[in-house]
């Protein structure tokens, strides 16, 4: 049997990696168990957004703001633990520009920015000329724009691998290609480790950080979670001369993020990468775990992107990738102890903000496990907040 761990983290996406890193740094013996490979799910299928621009005041913004302070230091902090030759995280505080192209859009965008400022978000109102000064290739029909200099960007796969590698340096074990199939149980509703398809791993605590797959894993481990997949599609262009300097979104993006709509929603999220390609998103649709190509979404994204940056009309899309966001009905992540099973923890439900919120989530869960002061008030994220269906039985 493998060595007993203080904490097992199920899932090696960015949230699992951040939990493993924070816990290892706090001195715990950590084992990460991943069914596939690092960042092979949601974390590797998004833009790497670290945003404050898309949230109104509230608990998620608080966690985003805390996480941002952590992202700002993380490269330096990890340098101590990473082996030589480790690729750069491509963290860039590039700032976001949210653009409205209609009068109505301008009004609601500016009103929204007005609610964010008292909560500590830097939101600089731009007129037509100001917007074009920041992004000269924008559609000149822009009616209003807001500049969010705190929005940042990271290469999410490298970030995930870096957090895992740092955790390993601090003593964590990482197990890939093993699927968790059940819980090891103590007396009463207590988890004492996990069984995988190959082995048994004893541990004092088990954290589920499986993004949209967390509901299934929770069930496997004797609990319940209402997290659901919400699909997104991203387009990647070929390399081109640098013409997009910030993260640029249309004002609809904010509405789509907080929407409960099950149907297809698209809004533009456009930015260039260090490699010279341009990432163009995004769509949201609740369609289960189906990952086949959604051409309708691709076409809608393309149409909206040209509206924001007309020069993209001639650009070539060379790759399309889709991912599944872990969607929570109340739009808040689930971070904290499972109310049914003692020793079981959740760290998921970040929807499209998992990269952004991962570092805060790792710190928060570590503080809850150690019983130390939490970096943010943990109550809004507590799994106990979730109304539980009667059908879920407490395991004996």
């Amino acid at each position: 049997m493998p060595r007993p761990s203080d904490v097992i983290v199920v899932g090696a996406g960015i949230v699992g990696a951040a939990c493993a890193y924070a816990l290892s740094r706090a001195g715990f013996v950590v084992t990460v168990i991943e069914a596939k490979a690092a960042a092979s799910g949601t974390s590797g299928q998004g833009e790497g957004n670290i945003l404050v621009s898309d949230r109104g005041p509230g608990a998620e913004l608080v966690l985003a703001q805390y996480s941002l302070t952590r992202w700002d230091r993380i490269e330096q902090e990890l340098a101590e633990y990473l082996p030589t030759g480790f690729p750069e995280l491509e963290y860039e505080l590039k700032g976001g520009v949210v653009v409205a192209t209609t009068e109505a859009g301008a009004e609601s965008l500016l009103a929204f920015a007005g609610t964010q400022r008292p909560a500590g978000v830097t939101a600089i109102e731009l007129d037509h000329d100001g917007a074009l000064a920041l992004e000269p290739h924008l559609n000149p029909e822009v009616t209003a724009a807001v500049h969010y200099p705190q929005d940042a960007q990271v290469q999410p796969v490298i970030a995930t691998e870096a957090l895992l590698a740092a955790a390993r340096t601090l003593g964590a074990a990482t197990i890939f290609g093993e699927q968790v199939v059940g819980a090891l149980r103590g007396p009463g509703p207590t988890i004492t480790g996990v069984r995988t398809d190959r082995d048994e791993y004893p541990a004092s605590q088990v954290i589920i950080a499986c993004g949209p797959w967390s509901a299934q894993v929770a069930e496997t481990l004797g609990s319940w979670l209402p997290v659901r997949p919400r699909r997104g599609v991203l387009l990647v262009t070929t390399r081109m001369p640098h013409k997009i300097f910030h993260k640029v979104y249309d004002a609809d993006y904010v509405g789509a993020v907080v929407s409960d709509d099950h149907g297809l929603q698209t809004s533009s999220v456009i930015e260039s990468t260090a490699a010279g390609t341009v990432l163009v998103g995004s769509s949201r649709r609740q369609s289960g775990f189906d990952q086949s190509l959604d051409l309708h979404a691709v076409r809608e994204i393309a149409r909206k992107a040209i509206t924001i940056f007309p020069f993209l009309a001639d650009a070539s899309v060379m790759r399309v990738y889709g991912g599944l966001r872990p969607f929570m009905p109340d739009h808040l992540p689930v971070i904290g102890p499972d109310p049914l099973v003692s020793g079981l923890w959740h760290a998921t439900g970040h929807e499209g903000a998992g990269i952004s919120l991962s570092l805060g989530t790792g710190d928060l869960i570590t503080s809850l496990i150690t019983g130390s002061t939490s970096p943010v008030d943990p109550r809004p994220y507590a799994p106990a907040r979730l109304p539980r269906p009667d059908t879920v039985e407490v395991p004996a």
């Binding site: 796969v157 290609g177 490699a275 190509l293 040209i306 009309a313 899309v317 790759r319």
Partner: protein, 487 residues
């Protein structure tokens, strides 16, 4: 109701499929990405009568099929049609797939967008050269055998004046012959496999050789007449030059393809054509949902049916076998897709031929199989991913530092496979290097994400303006579906 069979690819497999489906009474839509039918195998000039038929095996078969398909009122042949995606609605019955194609001059920006629907789909997308990296292989003048062939056969152009053809497999012979025919001085054909491997692979294949004798005999005569030496157990292990290739280092290699120290010789060339085999073009089959076998080819049954109902696959994507196998498989797929049965009398010759050829080409392929020792001719500065310029040294050190266990994270941390070719050239190499590294340096574990390089939902780049254009529906269900984009 009359069947509509959609065929992607106008090479030997696709043409035979279209021909057989028409013969069985179906309507056919044939999509070919090039301006002319024929595929890579029958590449020829715009003016078909200007074709050098001495370089074209089975040319009469091509002309007959192309003419029949081209003149049949039940056939819609669309050339310069780049299929770039396949979407499919599971459970929608016959016309569950829509082949998305961009029609017009490559690569846009104002091609006509079409959606092609039918009752059955035949994927005959062929293969492309697999070229293993070696130091200097990114210099201009280093090309694949396929490039030399295409330029010679379609445009009458020699890729160099003084040329070496190298790599592995029978394909090297027609490449050398084509080069000689357009005036290049071919100073040698260098086969990586040993003489013993080649002989033991080929000699027992007398029925196959009998079938192929005219072609091979023709090439052999051609090579002899042009005094082109055929040498075995040799590999190009370095290309030299600044702005283009000026010379190559050729090394004797052992049966594992490991260069033997002290055997390097320098050859003065201005071009080198290197192919170590073929990689099937799988992206559209994968996009259609077809399952692959353990050998990484599209899994098909005796009737060329894939795992997806009404979707067939023929030719190289089901296993590298060459044009004769492709012709037989295409015929079977076309006939069955059009509603025929595998047991029908007219399919007997094709079924028999396929069985024989598949077995025998397998043995030939084994004789030219890539040896694991080739990685020892790599240097740290050898480019692995030509698009993103990821070197072998950078790839290795990143994989060791990250201990990445998945292909997707490997791509995103090293950038190998992320460029415009989307890993078509380097992908299989990167996969093999990851496995190699796992066994030698303990850097990475076995790949654990199950991701393979061949999955590319966008099979060819498409412009934003083209994506947003209304697609015209071709094939069945035309009335019903014209409004679909407005849904």
């Amino acid at each position: 109701m009359r069947q509509t069979v959609v065929v992607i690819g106008g090479g030997p497999a696709g043409l035979a499929a279209a021909d057989a489906a028409l013969d069985r009474g179906a309507a056919v839509v044939l999509l070919e990405s090039a301006p002319r039918l024929g595929g890579q195998f029958w590449r020829h000039p715009t003016d078909r009568s200007a074709t050098d038929t001495s370089l074209q095996h089975n040319w009469n078969a091509f002309v007959a099929m192309a003419d029949r398909v081209g003149s049949d009122p039940s056939a819609t042949v669309i050339t310069s049609a780049q299929a770039w995606a396949i979407d499919h609605d599971h459970g929608q019955g016959d016309a569950a797939f829509g082949v998305q194609a961009a029609v017009g001059s490559a690569d846009g920006p104002s091609r006509e967008m079409i959606t092609v629907r039918g009752h059955a789909l035949i994927i005959a997308t062929g293969a492309h050269d697999r070229t293993l990296p070696f130091p200097g292989w990114d210099l201009p003048g280093v090309v694949t055998g396929g490039a030399a062939q295409a330029m010679a056969k379609a445009e009458g152009i020699a890729v160099g004046q003084r040329v070496v053809v190298a790599g592995a497999g029978p394909f090297l012979l027609p490449v050398a012959a084509s080069l000689a025919a357009v005036g290049a001085r071919v100073i040698g054909v260098l086969e990586a496999s040993s003489r013993r491997q080649v002989v033991s692979g080929w000699l027992p294949q007398s029925p196959w050789l009998a079938a192929k004798a005219p072609e091979l005999a023709g090439y052999a005569t051609y090579l002899a007449r042009h005094r082109i030496p055929y040498r075995t157990g040799l590999a190009v292990t370095r290309a030299h030059g600044n702005d283009s290739v000026r010379g190559i280092t050729v090394s004797r290699i052992d049966s594992d393809w490991r260069p033997v120290p002290g055997t390097a010789e320098y050859l003065d060339v201005d071009a080198v054509c290197v192919s170590h085999g073929f990689t099937p073009r799988l992206e559209l089959a994968i996009a259609a949902g077809c399952a692959l076998g353990a050998d990484r080819f599209v899994a098909v049954d005796a009737a060329q049916r894939t795992s997806v109902p009404n979707v067939f696959c023929a030719g190289e994507p089901t296993g590298i076998g060459g044009s004769d196998v492709a012709l037989a498989e295409g015929r079977i797929a076309g006939h069955v897709a059009a509603g025929g049965a595998i047991t029908d009398t007219q399919l007997r010759p094709a079924v028999r031929r396929r069985r024989l050829l598949r077995r025998l080409t397998g043995a030939i392929r084994d004789a030219h199989r890539i040896g694991p020792g080739w990685t020892s001719w790599l240097t740290d500065d050898t480019v692995i991913c030509r698009c993103e310029e990821t070197s072998y040294g950078a790839l290795r050190s990143t994989l060791i530092a990250t201990r990445t266990t998945g292909l997707r994270p490997a791509k995103l941390t090293t950038r190998a496979g992320l460029g415009p070719c989307q890993g078509r050239i380097c992908g299989r190499t990167v996969e093999e290097l990851m496995t190699d590294l796992a066994s030698t340096d303990g850097g990475a574990d076995q790949r654990s994400d199950g991701v393979i390089i061949d999955r590319r939902p966008i099979a060819s780049p498409v412009r934003f303006s083209e994506l947003t254009a209304q697609a015209r529906v071709v094939g069945t269900h035309e009335q019903m579906d014209t409004q679909e984009e407005d849904r």
